[in-house]
Symmetry: C2
Subunit: 346 residues, 2 copies
């Protein structure tokens, strides 16, 4: 078992049952370090979890200029031997050399570190040393220049956990959107509109909401075509693939409906008619979510054996290092990871 000392600044509030979360810094030259210190400075976040950061201790210290209330970093190489000073945040740097900190600079070495930190964090979660993983943004160009071929965190985490059936799910307030496909061309996304695959998407979304405490979540399946195909006039995927998937899942006892016209289903979910929507392609789900919750969306991977949540924004090189980036999305990601972790424990 993972046994690093609990060291929050406010020991009387310390809850030994607080879940431990591995939080990756992401690309050091993006906004990851500053949103990380801002989030860890917040009492509500400190109450929720015990973090261990996978990232650069030095960069974290530099970023603390933007959030002096963030506890200081303590570099940990060996938990058994390291005595963490009271009120410090353990930071694991890992074996890959960390480059100079240059906010806004695209650096393949920063991409390499970001990927390695995710690998370490996932390893810790698989070994049950942490309850879950929360990730700060990586830069895809950076990780590609570093020689990795991942489309993003989702695919990386799936590979590391040897997961075949996984789905990206976005959360923001009333919006909960699980995607039948994500990082592929739109034409490929249409090819993935198959009854078997859609049924898996529905089941994964349903299971996640049940874990989060919904007794009988109402799941709306969006069509792929305009007006959900208008009875076949604008495409047959709704008739040939979506309806069979919905019927199959309904027969399994899942409360799912549709296919619904895509242009109103998200508004209806905002109005609490549904608890979750199943989106047929990346932008069908991402357009409404970004519009409603640009700063507070959370991205999570369903179907993996570990809990993994993430901010729902990029590295934002253009504002990195300026201290203006908002930590809301990261805080929401931490909260969701804690919710999943507590559900797992109970």
């Amino acid at each position: 078992m993972w046994t690093y000392p609990s060291t929050w600044a406010n020991p009387e509030k310390k809850d030994p049952m607080k879940p431990k979360l591995a939080i990756t810094m992401g690309d050091i030259n993006g906004i990851g370090p500053e949103i990380l210190v801002k989030a860890l400075a917040r009492p509500d976040v400190q109450e929720l979890c015990e973090p261990v950061v996978l990232g650069s201790a030095r960069v974290l210290e530099t970023a603390r200029d933007h959030a002096p209330l963030c506890p200081p970093a303590t570099l940990v190489t060996d938990f058994a031997r390291t005595v963490l000073p009271a009120g410090s945040i353990p930071v694991i740097e890992g074996p890959v050399p960390i480059p100079e900190y240059h906010p806004g600079r695209l650096d393949p070495q920063a991409g390499r570190c970001a990927v390695e930190w995710v690998k370490q964090a996932v390893g810790m979660a698989l070994a049950r040393k942490v309850a879950g993983v929360v990730t700060c943004p990586i830069n895809k160009e950076g990780i590609h220049l570093a020689g990795y071929d991942y489309a993003g965190h989702t695919e990386l985490v799936a590979e590391l956990t040897n997961t075949r059936d996984y789905r990206l799910c976005l959360f923001a307030d009333q919006l909960r959107i699980v995607h039948n496909s994500t990082h592929c061309s739109l034409i490929e996304a249409i090819r993935l509109v198959k009854a078997d695959r859609i049924a898996v998407t529905i089941r994964l979304g349903h299971a996640a909401l049940v874990r989060l405490g919904f007794a009988r979540p109402r799941i709306a399946i969006a069509g792929v075509n305009p007006h959900a195909g208008e009875a076949g006039a604008f495409g047959r995927e709704e008739i040939d693939e979506l309806r069979p998937a919905i019927e199959r899942c309904s027969a399994e006892g899942i409360e799912c409906s549709g296919p619904h016209p895509p242009d109103t289903v998200f508004l209806r979910m905002l109005n609490r008619e549904f608890d979750m929507a199943v989106a047929m392609y990346h932008d069908q789900g991402h357009i409404p979510l970004k519009l409603v919750a640009m700063d507070s969306g959370v991205n999570t991977t369903l179907g993996t054996p570990i809990i993994r949540t993430s901010v729902d924004h990029g590295t934002a090189y253009d504002i990195a290092g300026k201290g203006v980036a908002r930590e809301e999305s990261l805080c929401a990601a931490i909260r969701l990871a804690v919710q999943f972790a507590e559900a797992e424990r109970s």
Copy 2:
């Protein structure tokens, strides 16, 4: 020239230059009649235009229960001979028998009337008897049962005006979205992502905004694939088709940019970074618009030789006849038609 007497209830405010608009009632069994009387009861709408309704005088009178301030209807068969009582609204019923008024009932004859009223209204606009056409919702199932094969108003108006290059454009506050395609399957919409067609879409959107008074509208072209294709990793349409179209239009002096990631471009437009977005398919534009402005969106057809605007919602049979439907979208459609008409006159 069209010379029916101007007869608004408030003669001292009467502006002889107010544009005349043909307003179609749409499907009588939908919410068309009630939103029509609610809109025509509003002083701001009365100030803006002189309406002539294509619809049922009797249904209009019945609907006035929901908006007693709406001027009464006067059935007109021959404008040269009809003396309109002061403060009444001219109504043309046309040659097709009007069925019984049954709010919420799907009736092919109501569909037939709705189509014929649009045909008459477009004929009046082509003959310059009215400055433009504003349409209330039709029910697609109804018009199909009546034997017509139109996907919607847009296609009907395009056919009636013999227009080949036309585009659906949605307006709502800060959002102005012109669509490269609309009523077809998503896979067909991807096939229509071709440089020539996109250039036409950009030019039509640009021309519309220039007419509305934008000196140099900033037009954002959305990608078709996630992240606008991520440099070809998720599809090549952005590289092969969108970029050439954007370059061509830029060379013509149009301020256009992109292809932009579809999931943030609409938020950026809301934040006034762009004046218009070009959407690559129906739902890419309709999802954000419905989310931001469910009740106040306006739908217009660009490229036709006549001005045509429409409500951006359906017949809503479920609430028809109850007087609860909101007239905002119709009022916005009237305002936009007047804006276009005044631009044409100046």
